[in-house]
């Protein structure tokens, strides 16, 4: 037959090949557009919806579905509260909230849980009033805690299916190219990398971007690409950029943290993993972050350069990069505004998503290419198991983050902690909550001594050779007990308030309700 353009098309292609003849009238979307200018087309983008309510209606969200958020604004996040307030007003019930993490600012969720707007939560961590209320039995369904790598894997393998993702973005163009900063304008509420949000954008059924800066097309570089975005809603403010660097990522001048950091650097230097071309990550927490400062001196003294740093990128790490001491930065989450600024300006500072960062089953996950990681801990036990989720009072006040992922992936994992905090010992017989298994932790560094995991005899040898004084983990525990005494068991009840999963989704531990006597 002849197609619309008058060319002869053999029937065999149409019948057996199941192809169709060209016809601009029915080849929808391929017809040449009206002669609108690019600027005009941007103004008419159908993705921009004039209210969140409208976007929610278009997304097809139903009661009982799963909604997701990222936590790149940490304590400065306005998006979670804004969206869930609107969903509550719209009458939604029984939603599952799957956030990459939740912080102090999310206390208003308590009311939405009580009113059954939110029935269950999946997160990396919880802090503040919300965490305390959940520890005291607020929710009927226990919270599922996942590491960043564990969450990425759960989402990409559809064990955690996201129906609608609500992703705050400091910049977005009319077709959905979104990012944590913009090279077009200085005044965005920059959060830097959008590494966790990119997983949601990749796998959610519907993606709604909330932004306070609609910028001209094409918004490059983009963290989230236009083909992943369904709707765009402009709201007055998505977050407070001054609070990105808060809580877990504060810069320390605490002399004890600095002492721990100095010891950790001595351990790194003697570990056998401190070579020209090595790779590193420092976790959040004062002492862990401070190791970067001392590491710099050691790197200069020994003329060693790092091939890459992974993270959780901080201003400290950026400085080393700009000095030429670290060749490349891989950034799933920018810990402060200096890091966000560097991501915008430095060519070898690369944004990566959480699957790329830490998916346990993806070959080339960057955590598996790490030499050294320095991590914080709330509690460590004599089996080198770590707790980063519950405080010494048994109340949830932390996040798994990338702790499990990097401890397992890195060739050499160091956990730093002060021996005692106030009246609490950091070294126990058994951690209250198991978040990182002891066989993935190689060394514990405290201000009062260093213990190497007996599973790593070669490390013990190297430390001895470098004249680094070692203790056993039991000796550290006893040293702490001499100072603080022996704690009584916490008054846990039977109700399970949290499920701690390992990277692969298996259950590592449970968190129980703490007796509410206040």
């Amino acid at each position: 037959m002849k197609n619309y353009a008058g060319r002869e098309i053999p029937d065999i292609l149409l019948e057996k090949g199941k192809m169709s003849p060209y016809n601009p009238l029915i080849t929808n979307g391929l017809k040449k557009k009206e002669s609108l200018s690019s600027a005009e087309r941007q103004r008419q983008s159908r993705k921009i919806v004039d209210s969140l309510e409208k976007a929610v209606a278009l997304s097809g969200l139903q009661n009982g579905m799963t909604i997701s958020f990222h936590h790149h604004f940490r304590d400065g996040d306005y998006v979670v509260n804004y969206v869930i307030d609107r969903l509550a007003e719209m009458g939604f019930k029984h939603l599952r909230l799957a956030a990459s993490s939740l912080t102090n600012i999310h206390a208003p969720l308590i009311r939405h849980i009580q009113n059954h707007v939110i029935d269950s939560i999946e997160t990396s961590g919880l802090r503040g009033e919300l965490a305390e209320a959940i520890s005291k039995g607020l929710m009927d369904v226990p919270v599922t805690f996942r590491s960043h790598g564990g969450r990425a894997y759960a989402i990409s393998s559809d064990q955690l299916h996201i129906d609608v993702a609500f992703l705050g973005a400091p910049s977005c163009d009319p077709f959905g190219n979104a990012n944590g900063y913009s090279r077009d304008t200085e005044d965005t509420s920059a959060c830097g990398s959008m590494g966790y949000a990119r997983v949601d954008a990749n796998y959610a059924d519907k993606v709604i971007i909330l932004t306070d800066h609609i910028v001209p097309y094409p918004n490059i570089p983009f963290g989230i690409s236009q083909y992943q975005v369904d709707y765009i809603v402009e709201i007055p403010e998505i977050g407070d950029k001054n609070k990105i660097m808060s809580g877990a990522t504060r810069y320390t001048n605490n002399p004890r943290d600095l002492l721990i950091a100095q010891k950790a650097v001595d351990v790194i230097a003697a570990s056998g993993y401190f070579y020209d071309g090595f790779s590193l990550q420092t976790g959040s927490g004062g002492a862990a972050l401070a190791t970067t400062r001392f590491l710099r001196e050691k790197m200069i003294a020994r003329n060693i350069k790092a091939n890459f740093a992974l993270g959780g990128i901080t201003g400290q790490i950026v400085k080393l990069h700009e000095e030429g001491l670290i060749k490349k930065l891989l950034d799933v989450q920018s810990f402060d505004l200096d890091a966000a600024e560097s991501l915008k300006n430095n060519r070898f500072h690369q944004q990566i998503d959480a699957n790329y960062y830490a998916d346990p089953f993806s070959e080339g996950s960057v955590v598996n290419e790490l030499d050294v990681v320095v991590l914080s801990a709330l509690e460590v036990d004599t089996g080198f198991n770590v707790n980063v989720l519950t405080g010494s009072d048994g109340i949830i006040r932390g996040a798994i983050g990338g702790h499990q992922d990097t401890a397992a992936g890195a060739a050499f994992s160091i956990v730093v902690a002060p021996l005692t905090r106030g009246r609490n010992s950091s070294i126990l017989n058994h951690v209250n909550t198991l978040t990182t298994p002891g066989d993935t932790v190689d060394v514990v560094v405290t201000d009062q001594g260093i213990a190497v995991n007996p599973l790593r005899p070669e490390i013990i040898e190297r430390m001895k050779k470098a004249h680094i004084p070692l203790s056993t983990i039991e000796e550290l525990k006893e040293k702490a007990e001499k100072i603080v005494g022996i704690a009584e068991a916490l008054p846990f009840e039977d109700q399970i308030v949290g499920i701690v999963t390992y990277r692969d989704g298996s259950i590592l531990d449970v968190i129980r309700k703490i007796r509410n006597d206040h």
């Binding site: 010494s392 009072d393 048994g394 905090r421 106030g422 009246r423 609490n424 100072i483 009584e488 008054p491």
Partner: protein, 95 residues
Amino acid sequence: MDFLKKGLAGTLESGDIFIEIEKSELPGIHIDLQSKVKNQYGKQILLVITETLKEYGIDNVNVKAIDQGSLDCTIRARVTTAIYRGSGKNDYRWE
């Protein structure tokens, strides 16, 4: 030692304990303890306060204790100071 007035010692700083001791109409030692580590160390803190009071032969008092994670040595020091201040004595027993 007799309590002429309220004996106060300590602060609300982290690692410290604030102690207030006054005479009680009721016999015995009555301690009102607030502590962020009450679940883990409450019994021990009460024991140290009581023992220190007994060392000075003190009975029939109300004690208010606001603990911010203090160690036993701090608790003893603050209680002892509150005792001396409340009783107006200064014949200190230096250790």
